[in-house]
Amino acid sequence: MFFRTAWLVLRKDVAIEAKSWEVVTTTLFFAVSCVLIFAFALVKDGRAVGDAAAGILWIAISFSGTLALGRTFERERYAETLRALLLAPAPRAALYTGKLMGMLALLGLAELLLVPLVALLFQASAMFSRPLLLAGLLAGGTVGFCAVGTLFAAMLVRARSRDVLLPILLYPIIIPVIIAGVRGTAALLSAPPDEPTAIMWIGVLTAFDIVFVTLALWTFEPLMTE
């Protein structure tokens, strides 16, 4: 019942999105422009400064993610479908999980584009030498970001000033995830790749993910009830 509901929510979101691909295309394009701005801001003498590649990748992920969160839930608010969803006789946590999976898919798609782009523009192809570790870092960080982001975006749907409140509330909470992601990616980019450090950061990220997903599942129900 739980996973069936979550799956249905995900299918609904994908079906709606497939009509116009609006959120996907705008998010992807924003991610690319974000990286380009950093490319122009941080490249000196044709090379990027220090660990810039790792930082830029994660900044682009968090900025595109914030935008995507806002757009996705704006759609829900516009059509008042969130209230309809809440009225359905389904466990609230399943609704959250469905929304989370949708956000993960969207951000995952963005990362598929972002990682090669950053590697290309900042001469950072060294991170592909350990693809499993890189995937682990990205997965851990994305789950952490989306877990908290989906919760906050959903609870802000009916608040005033929601557009600016989302980053205000979200960023302080997920910056530890970003730190872990950047440090781990930077470890992979060092020569030779620092595997133990990267593995340690993946451990930290997984710990974050477990804590935050559990917390989000637990608090989703009372937050959505008013």
Partner: protein, 218 residues
């Protein structure tokens, strides 16, 4: 609770006047000299902030799951008090660091995450102010998530490389430094409780005013 206010206020006042005297008589630290004495106010402010965060998180949990307006008032007050003591820590720290390390700020983990906690609870205040109806629940969620991030702060010093003194400094304090330190900790905790009580009282009066308005509408 109200009866305790007077005695606590007097005790806190006495302790806060006595604190500088005790601090002045404490010995100097061998490598950092005079400026290390900021420690006696810096660390207790952080202790007070963490306690306030704990109170805020606990009250937020109660309010979120039990819909208790008193818990909501306590969470709101504790959030503000946490921001106050965090601000003290964030200002006294760089003043100490300027002399001891030569720089005002360092992007090492403990400082960074301490700043993040401060920002989290400021965002909680902002959401209460500008979030419109229902923002008490949102602020409660922020309080809970802020609390969940706190353990990572304390461990941060021991995981990353850092020039910030380790958390093992406090347990190994010699008695001549320990006495004024724990005195200041007690003084700050009392101060925090005091401010919390005053702020909760304000919340109660505001709630009473709202009730009056609602009754008046009828």
């Amino acid at each position: 609770m109200r009866k305790a206010f007077g005695p606590i206020a007097v005790l806190a006042g006495v302790m806060l006047v006595g604190a500088p005297i005790m601090v002045a008589r404490a010995p100097y630290e061998s490598t950092m000299g005079l400026v290390q004495k900021i420690f006696y106010f810096h660390v207790p402010s952080w202790f007070a902030m963490f306690t306030a965060i704990g109170v805020c998180g606990g009250a937020s949990l109660v309010h979120l799951f039990r819909n208790n307006p008193r818990a909501d008032r306590i969470a709101e007050a504790a959030g503000e008090v946490a921001v106050l003591f965090g601000l003290m820590g964030l200002v006294t720290g760089p003043l100490w660091g300027r002399k001891a390390w030569g720089v005002w700020w360092q992007w090492d983990a403990k400082l960074t995450i301490a700043l993040l906690l401060e920002m989290t609870f400021i965002s909680g205040i902002l959401v209460r102010k500008y979030g419109g109806p229902g923002s008490d629940k949102l602020a409660a969620a922020v309080g809970i998530f802020g609390l969940a991030v706190t353990p990572f702060v304390y461990e941060a010093v021991n995981i990353w490389r850092t020039i910030h003194p380790l958390t093992s400094v406090v347990p190994t304090l010699p008695a001549s430094m320990g006495a004024p330190f724990w005195f200041c900790v007690a003084a700050f905790m009392l101060l925090m409780v005091l401010l919390l009580m005053v702020r909760v009282n304000l919340g109660k009066r505001q709630a009473a005013l709202d009730e009056l308005y609602l009754a008046y509408e009828d």
